[in-house]
Each structure stands twice: as C-alpha cells, then as structure tokens.
Subunit: 109 residues, 2 copies
DNA sequence: CGAACATTTCGATAAATATCGAAATGAAAG
DNA sequence: CTTTCATTTCGATATTTATCGAAATGTTCG
C-alpha cells in the first residue's frame, strides 16, 4: 500500500456516517447489504448515503454488486487488513516489538 | 472505544503530513522524536507541523513530553491497537471469520 | 410499453480544514 | 537578566467536504 492510498482509505473512514456504514458492512460479512437498508439503519437520505458509499468504494474498502433492482455493498476485508498493516509497518524500527507482536486474538485489555 | 472517538482518530490519520508523522513515530518506537526533527524530515514549516501534531495528540494517538528545550512526541501504541480493534469489531456477525482471524504476524501478502 | 421502485447524479449552500508567516511562549545558556 | 533556541499560537486565505432535494438512470413487473 502506498501512503497516498492509505490517506484516501483513512479519509473514507474518517466520517461518522461512512464509519458506521463500513462497520455495518464488516459485521454483515461477505453477503453485504443493499444500499437502501444501510440508509434506513443510519437514518440518512439515500442521496447522502450514496455519496458516502461512493467514497468508500473509491477507496477500495467496499464493493458493489447488483441483485435484482438493489445494489448490494460489501466490505473488502483484504483492503481493511492492508490498511492496518500499513499503519503498523516497520513498527519500532522493524525489530521485535511487544507493542504490536501480540496477535489480535490473544490481547489483554 | 466509542464511534465518535474513532472518527477523531481516523481524521487525525487521514492527512498526508499527519500520517507520515505518525508513521515516523511508530517506527521510532517509544523513544519518540523531537518536533523539529519531524518537521525537518517531512520538510514542512514548524507551524504547520505543530498544528498537525496537536491534532494527533488530541486524538490520543501521540503523546508529548519535554526534554530540555525540545518537545518529544511518541506514538501511543495502545491507542493505535484500540482503533484497529474497533474497525474489526464484531466482524462477520461475531462468529468465526477467517477474514480477520489470521494474526497479523502470520499473514501472507 | 408504462408504472413502480432502488439508487445515483446534479447543483447549490454551509461548514470544516490546510496552509504559512509573523508574533508569542517557555526553557536553557552565557 | 538578556540572548538564543525550539516550539506554539494567531490570523487570514484558499480548498475541501457534508448535506439534501430534485431530477435522472436503470431495473423489474404487469
């Protein structure tokens, strides 16, 4: 991932409605959700949501597919992972570093 | 982490210079770097950088300490991890989900 | 084909943000 | 205590962004 692309992805997530939409899609899993359902759950006008979904799609964080007359959006998990990896890349100079070495699943809060 | 806080943190990272500064600090590790040195490496005026560092600090992603006449900034690794966890929270409905279960260290590119 | 439906594009306005030089703050050294 | 140095605050400008209604696009069904 290039820094420029990371900024685009982070900007896409750095907004209330877009972050909520993305998290809905992350939780929905690979099946995704139709645009209208997202708009309903977030309680914002379709036109506003469409703008936001386009921005997430442009950043490569979500994808669109058609099902009947609905457009289904789904999260791109690989893109999300790539972004996370970019943030922690070469952490602490690249040597062993207990601050990031702990796998997500075994972390203590 | 609350959604509102996540948006603040993501906004802080969603900018060229701030993302570069943050990554410099991530790579520098717990010792951090003085503000002036960051400004030099990024080749931006001190006043601009100061604005950006303040925003990162407000988001809780970096901390400031004084050393002589320099102000040393360092990344907050726990905050970064909290943000990442928030993004992937309850992924795919909370069930097992191979898309995020792979620990960062063992991922294949 | 024509009506009903889901979503996007357009256009206009309001609000937030990045930028940088100049002046101000605060700490150290002579 | 005055000078020097590192950094921040101020102020002003230009750019980007969020918002939403209305109109347009593309799809299905009768």
């Amino acid at each position: 991932m290039k820094a420029n692309h990371a900024v685009i992805a982070l900007s896409a997530l750095a907004q209330d409605h877009r972050l909520s939409a993305f998290r809905l899609l992350v939780q929905a899993g690979p099946d995704g959700l139709p645009a209208g359902q997202i708009a309903t759950q977030l309680d914002i006008p379709n036109s506003s949501l469409s703008h936001h979904l386009a921005q997430l799609a442009e950043a490569g964080l979500v994808h669109q597919r058609r099902d009947g007359r609905s457009l289904i959006y789904s999260a791109d998990f690989a893109a999300m992972r790539g972004l996370v990896d970019f943030l922690t890349e070469n952490c602490c100079g690249g040597g062993d570093c207990e601050t990031t070495a702990m796998p997500m699943e075994t972390r203590q809060p």
